[in-house]
Structures are given as structure tokens and as C-alpha cells.
Symmetry: C2
Subunit: 223 residues, 2 copies
């Protein structure tokens, strides 16, 4: 086993431990990934504003190289949130998440969002103990990203195509082409088209989450 | 010296070797970095179209996890280009660049663009032998990216703020705020506002490059 394999094996052990915690407390853990500026935090803000109607009680961990900006935005939106500062590390790992859980009142809720470092490569490789992987992809990033960053999209349970309010100003981008690219890399292609600004697609996104909730939805999560 | 330091030390040796090659042939090597979808390839296409007027003779290496899409686009724009396929690696290193140089007719030109893997973290840490680090930051990524990804912006000689034709549709983004954020992290803040679509800022960008050219401009490059 080489060094990289040893690191991943140790991470998998820590992720299993996190997953047991989440299952034990009936909390749906979601790993939210995407490029810098793909709209992850804005999506969580919009999710927070709609969550009471769906019976969601959220908490969040936010990974960042520097600053607590996203954590501040999430707390302002009413989500208990702690920041994981990674320095120069380009992804979260399961041990970082485990340590940060001690600083957060997540057991009282039913949903934990782990907002990963903005990066379309490495975060996909490190299991954090989540029940679902979500990738936020902004329409402004262009049509070919699923084919160029297949590792991330192969691991995704759902892709949220964000900032779709900008589509009328992007003559070179079509949703159909993005769907076609996702169909080539995702084992079970699933796309929801959203805009945190206009609210488009939020109902579909919230319904997707509700079905995943262990305590409220069906079918039950199998970890 | 730990493992990471040993990897970086080996990379620095290979980068020095690349730099000697570039200097010997009077070629300006530029490391072009930025998030996925920040407009790196579109910028190089626009640069290629304007290059004859400035006496630039370009070649390019393009780093990608998968696909030769960017290489194809660059060759279609008239730039001799080779692709470095990284698999799951989230950045280029100096040895990858050195190997790829054998597949490319770069010695006949005076400028080599190395388009790095789309990632706002790791590429900044690996010297490739370049004379200049350029970061493409799309206005659609939001105002706070320099503060959240300081490692990348600290290493930048120039930031190109791309896709500025979309600014009228982004009520939450101002160029002044981005300039302010860059001023907090870049040792010598330098920003050029461009749009590959409308041509805005291209003249300023081409003039910046021309000043860096060892054979044409002044002051001379000191590697």
C-alpha cells in the first residue's frame, strides 16, 4: 500500500466513524462541493430561508483556506455554523470534520451541510461520512466541466446547476449540453436547475432533500 | 525535511531546469491559473487572435484531468498546443511540463502559455519554471475570492478579471471591491479588467505581455 492509499484508508476509517455519529442522531449529512464561486453558500442561505416549511433543522460546517466569511453568512441566515480553516489544504477530510463537530450544535437538527473547499477535483476523493454528495455547478463555468472534471461528477448523487438567472446572458451555454455531458460521467445522472436569486428550482431541491431525510422521508437512508 | 517538503524541493529543481530552457531560447513562459470556468482558454484564444499585431509567437501546454478540449480549442485558434492529462492530480508540476515540452514545437516562438488545471489552490504552490504567474478570476465568482484563496493571489504577478461583460447582470459584484480584496493579499496588486467576448481590456493585457517579453520589451526578465 503506497502513501496515498494509506492516507485514504485512514480517512475511510474516520469517515465510517462520522457516519455512525450521523446515523445515530438521525442527521442527514450532505457534502456540498463545487468550484470557487459556484454558489454553494448562496444555495445554503436560500435553503435555510425555505427550511421551516419542510421541517428541516439545519447545521453547517464550512471549509475554507482562510477567513470565516461563509460561516458568518450562514449564521446570519440562521444556520448554526462552524468554520474549518484548512490553510493551504485544498479539501476537507474526515478527521477535520470530526474535530469541528465538537464546536457545533448539530445533534439537535436533522440535516448537516458540509460545505467543502471550493475545488472541483480533490474534495471528491475524501469521504467525510456523508449520506449524499452534491455538486454545485454554475452555468457561468461553461458546458464542458463534467467531462473535464469527471472524478467529481462520477461521485455526485445530484448536481445543482446554479445561477441559471444568468442563462439569457450566456449565448454559448445550454442546459441540454450540460445534461448531455453529465449523462456521460454520472452513474445515475440527476440535475436540478436552480437560482438562489430568483428562487427557481428551490422547491424541487427541497423535495429532493426531504426524500433523503431519515426521519421524515422515504425510502430510508442506507449508509 | 518531511515528505511534502521533499516533493516541493524536487519540483523546484525541475522548475529551475525548465527555466534555463526557456531563458536559453528567449521564450517568455507564463503560468495561467484560475478556477474551473474562469475563462483561461477563452483568454488564450483572444490573445492568439491579437498576437500578430504585437509580434507574439505563441505555443501552449494545457493541463486537464481528462479530455483534450482545451488543446483542441487552442490549436483551432492557431496556437501549437499539447495537452497534459493529469488523471486525478489537481495541479501541474515541473516534471510534467518538462516531459510535455518534448511534444511541442515551442522553441520557434517567443511565448509559452502553460494553462494549469482549473483550481484556485494547489497550482500556486508548484513552480513550473515560468517567468510570470497570471490568475484569471471571473466576475461571476464573487468579490471575496482573493481573501478566501490567498495562497493563489499572493503568488500572482497579475490578475485578469474576466467575463466583465456580465457585470451589468451581477448586482452584488463591484470591481472596486475586488480591487480592495486584491490589495490585501497581493504583494504588488495589479489588475486588468477584460472580456474575451467584447475585447474590452485586451489591448492593456497585450501591452503588459509585451513589456515582459525578453526579446522585445524592457526591462529584461530576470528569472
Amino acid at each position: 500500500m503506497d502513501l496515498h492509499e494509506r492516507i485514504l484508508a485512514a480517512n475511510d476509517g474516520a469517515a465510517r466513524h462520522n457516519r455512525e455519529h450521523f446515523d445515530e442522531h438521525g442527521v442527514l449529512a450532505v457534502n456540498l462541493m463545487g468550484s470557487p464561486g459556484s454558489g454553494k453558500t448562496a444555495l445554503l442561505e436560500a435553503t435555510a430561508h425555505a427550511s421551516a416549511d419542510y421541517g428541516f433543522k439545519l447545521a453547517a460546517l464550512s471549509g475554507d483556506l482562510a477567513t470565516d466569511h461563509d460561516g458568518e453568512r450562514l449564521r446570519a441566515a440562521g444556520i448554526p455554523a462552524a468554520t474549518i480553516t484548512t490553510g493551504s489544504a485544498c479539501h476537507l477530510d474526515a478527521a477535520m470534520v470530526h474535530r469541528a463537530l465538537h464546536d457545533l450544535n448539530w445533534r439537535n437538527g436533522n440535516m448537516l451541510f458540509i460545505e467543502n473547499v471550493g475545488n472541483l477535483v480533490c474534495p471528491a476523493i475524501y469521504d467525510l461520512g456523508q449520506a449524499a454528495n452534491i455538486v454545485a455547478l454554475a452555468v457561468t463555468e461553461g458546458e464542458d466541466k463534467p467531462l473535464k472534471y469527471p472524478v467529481m461528477f462520477r461521485a455526485a448523487d445530484l448536481v445543482l446547476l446554479t445561477k441559471v438567472d444568468l442563462l439569457p446572458h450566456l449565448p454559448d451555454v445550454s442546459v441540454a449540453s450540460i445534461e448531455d455531458a453529465l449523462g456521460r460521467v454520472m452513474p445515475n445522472p440527476r440535475l436540478i436547475v436552480v437560482s438562489a436569486r430568483t428562487g427557481q428550482g428551490m422547491q424541487e431541491w427541497m423535495s429532493w432533500l426531504k426524500k433523503k431525510l431519515p426521519s421524515l422521508g422515504s425510502p430510508a437512508i442506507v449508509a
